[in-house]
């Protein structure tokens, strides 16, 4: 992948131009290697085991260290930075609790294939296993949630390990990598070598697709009557949006994206049928059910996408392009598997395919679109959540980086914001981590200072990581935080209403919720509130004009609004419920 090359191969070019002493300690070596890899931002929190690294950072001007207020948020911030920029996000925390606090953030990144490199301090080598102060077996703990992890036992391997970590995190199917650094490694003298090429003999991701398979896929698409492209997070992570758009437009094939694929294909193009799945559009889910040839591009047939498996796209021949072979045939049998980088495989298919006759198919789809559009309910008195998203889309011209938390607001944001640009919708899709949104938005803002970043969150999720307001204020991050405040855990409440007899067990937050305006103000941030559509417009206008720090917008929305369409769990995609009319 492109970013892998810039981060690993560049490193050799400026090998000898810095006249620093060749002998350094491990901590200095680490920083020097990070600079060489062109790391510009680290999200971190100091502690005993990493003090040597913090000492080396004290005089460092090329790397911007962001002091987050909790390590979980640090991992989410690095994740948001990675999703927005395509570069690896970097986290630096101390041993024991510092490491364990990052676990949720690492698991979130692992599920969505996000490149992270997490550096954890560790107790000195001779104390490992002794239950030393702030000791935790973080390599053991994170083994199932990292693509790879390392415990550095010899300082002479440190530079190699750091370079490998970035290479592994950003290449192939990206993912988080953890490097555990015992304190004595950081204090030991060693030599910086400026290694050139990173090569791991046992790790060679397949990037070029198999030629025969590509020809077969092209032929199948050319002969299709009702083709559909289903693009997932891989289309965004693999930076294949241009190739995907070119192919879909030339062949005039409808494109549906997953939650993670949003922005991978511009939603304003006529070929877009929006998002599919549990809260996907009627027409995307119907197209999936009715299509005769399905081209899956960097998507993994997640259960939120497929619904009941035996009713999933039952009439289609399936082509699946994925860089990770283990994704192919995992949930759904595939007729033409293609292991490879979507950015390389798509143009090869495009070159060989001829435009299929899709006129009738488009008539059907356009009828579905006309008869079953996404609805924004009308109200003058209360703020409808769907309207809130639409107004945010309006005030940001659809050009913002939208970062969500998890729940109803996430689904409404996915449905009602018009995504035309890649790396512009950041959300915890796989793990569904509440508390992700706000710190990830902050990370995205550090990565892309020229873009407007809006965090759309809920009153529940925001409170899980709201303490990061301190960081956002300290670094004057111009972040727009829009809280969809329905005074409850909306998605839990919705399921309880629909499937548990309206028994709202522990899902109502009304009594304990803070005054979000005052909360913001107590940190020195701007807090604004709106309770009706007119006020909402005023608040949004005001917020968009503030560029020297975070703004918290408390939008009191309709409490009992449910998110539709909805495919109930256990139902097939075409058995979706379209909501109360």
């Amino acid at each position: 992948m492109a970013q892998a090359k810039t981060q690993t191969i560049d490193s050799a070019t400026n090998k000898s131009q810095t006249p620093e002493p060749a002998v350094l300690n491990g901590a200095e070596l680490l920083i020097r290697t990070l600079k060489d890899i062109k790391v510009d931002t680290i999200f971190g929190y100091p502690g005993g085991a990493v003090l040597p690294i913090y000492d080396a950072l004290f005089d460092e001007h090329d790397i911007n260290h962001v002091l987050i207020r909790h390590e979980q948020a640090g991992a989410h911030a690095a994740d948001g930075y990675a999703r927005a920029t395509g570069k690896a996000g970097v986290v630096l925390v101390t041993s024991g609790p510092g490491g364990t606090n990052t676990v949720t953030g690492i698991a979130t990144a692992a599920m969505d294939s996000i490149p992270l490199v997490v550096f954890t301090g560790q107790v000195p080598t001779e104390l490992i296993g002794n239950d030393a102060f702030q000791e935790a077996d973080i390599v053991g703990i994170t083994r199932p949630i990292t693509k790879h992890n390392y415990l550095v036992k010899d300082v002479n391997n440190l530079e190699q390990v750091v370079r490998e970590a970035f290479h592994v995190a950003t290449s192939g199917r990206p993912g988080p990598v953890l490097v555990d650094l015992p304190k004595d490694m950081l204090n030991t003298e060693c030599r910086y070598s400026g290694l050139k090429k990173i090569s791991i003999p046992s790790y060679k991701p397949t990037e070029e697709g198999h030629a025969t398979q590509i020809s077969k896929a092209a032929q199948l698409l050319s002969e299709a009557k009702k083709p559909l492209i289903y693009a997932g997070g891989g289309a965004v992570l693999g930076e294949a949006w241009e190739e995907l758009t070119a192919m879909a437009e030339r062949l005039n094939i409808p494109v549906t994206t997953t939650l993670m694929g949003l922005g991978g294909f511009p939603e304003s193009k006529p070929q877009s049928v929006g998002m599919l799945g549990m809260h996907g559009t009627y027409y995307a889910n119907m197209a999936m059910t009715e299509c005769d040839v399905l081209l899956a591009v960097g998507a993994r047939f997640d259960d939120r996408v497929t619904g009941r498996l035996d009713g999933f796209s039952p009439h289609s021949k399936k082509i699946h392009i994925d860089i990770d072979p283990s994704n192919i045939g995992k949930n759904v049998p595939v007729d033409i598997p293609i292991v490879g980088d979507v950015k390389k495989v798509l143009p090869s298919i495009d070159r060989q395919a001829t435009k299929p006759d899709t006129e009738k198919w488009w008539d059907t789809i356009n009828t579905w679109k006309r008869e079953h559009p996404l609805k924004v309910p009308d109200s003058e008195t209360t703020i409808k959540p769907q309207l809130m998203i639409e107004r945010i889309s309006h005030y940001t011209n659809g050009e913002a980086i939208v970062v969500t938390d998890v729940g109803q607001h996430q689904m409404w944001a996915a449905q009602h914001y018009t995504f035309n640009y890649p790396r512009s919708f950041l959300s915890s899709g796989g793990l569904g981590t509440m508390g992700y949104g706000f710190p990830a938005a902050m990370g995205a803002a550090f990565g892309c200072p020229d873009r407007t970043v809006v965090c759309i969150t809920g009153d529940g999720g925001f409170q899980m990581t709201a303490y990061e307001l301190a960081t956002a204020v300290e670094y004057e991050v111009p972040l727009k935080i829009a809280i969809m405040n329905n005074e409850c855990l909306g998605m839990v409440r919705q399921w309880q209403e629909l499937f548990f007899n309206k028994r709202y067990s522990h899902s109502i937050l009304k009594k304990g919720n803070p005054d979000f305006v005052k909360l913001a103000e107590s940190y020195g941030a701007v807090g604004l509130r709106a309770t009706n559509p007119k006020e909402m417009d005023e608040v949004l206008e005001q917020a968009m004009a503030i560029n020297d720090g975070p703004v918290v917008m408390d939008f009191k929305v309709e409490e009992h609004e449910n998110c539709y369409p909805m495919v109930p769990s256990g139902a097939a995609l075409n058995e979706m419920v379209e909501g109360d009319e």
Binding site: V139, G140, R143, P144, K147, H148, N149, Y150, L151, V168, I200, P201, S202, Y203, L309, D310, G311, F312, S313, P314, H315, D324, P325, S326, G329, K330, V332, P333, N574
Partner: protein
């Protein structure tokens, strides 16, 4: 609407022997075991030892599952950064051996009968005392099972088994 059921999988459970070449480190071994425990796959036996080069280890895993599960196991093992190669020997001709030590009750009256059975299986008596015999047997899993089965009537006290180790056959049998 007519729906074709396109998710029918081959459900026949088969035994598979996987030979995995991996960098010799405990993190790699833990990751391999973790794939099985974390993703709900089965291990019937696993053996671990150094390979031709000292920095590589060969792990032999016997497992079972339907075609789709075995395919996932192979792919998931291949995904581990330290794994150099995964060979599913089941589709090749291969040799596999297991070693077992069996401690069996042997009285004066039963001792010679046990030793006769051991001879049939080409097993060796490696320890002897007035009441016990310890016998070493090598062979594939079925042979070892059969031998232990034959000893049960006499009273098997303890068994230690290595699990299978396996290599692909070079000669494919065609002349």
């Amino acid at each position: 609407m007519k729906q074709t059921n396109n998710v029918t999988k081959e459900k026949t459970v088969e035994k598979h022997t996987l030979s995995v070449l991996v960098s010799y480190n405990l993190n790699a071994l833990s990751r391999i075991i973790g794939i099985f425990s974390g993703k709900g796959f089965e291990i019937d036996s696993i053996s671990f030892g150094s390979g031709k080069k000292s920095d590589l280890a060969r792990i032999t895993i016997t497992t079972h599952g339907d075609v789709q599960i075995i395919e996932q196991i192979t792919k998931q093992l291949n995904k581990i950064i330290d794994v150099v190669k995964v060979n599913d020997l089941t589709y090749d001709s291969f040799v596999d051996r297991e070693l077992a030590l069996i401690k069996v009750t042997a009285t004066r009256s039963s001792r010679s009968e046990i030793m006769q059975i051991a001879q049939v299986f080409r097993a060796k008596v490696i320890d002897i005392s007035p009441e016990k015999l310890t016998i070493e047997v090598t062979g594939n899993r079925d042979k070892v099972n059969a031998f232990i089965g034959m000893l049960y009537p006499f009273g098997v006290d303890e068994v230690a088994r290595t699990g299978s180790v396996a290599l692909k056959r070079e000669f494919d049998g065609n002349v």
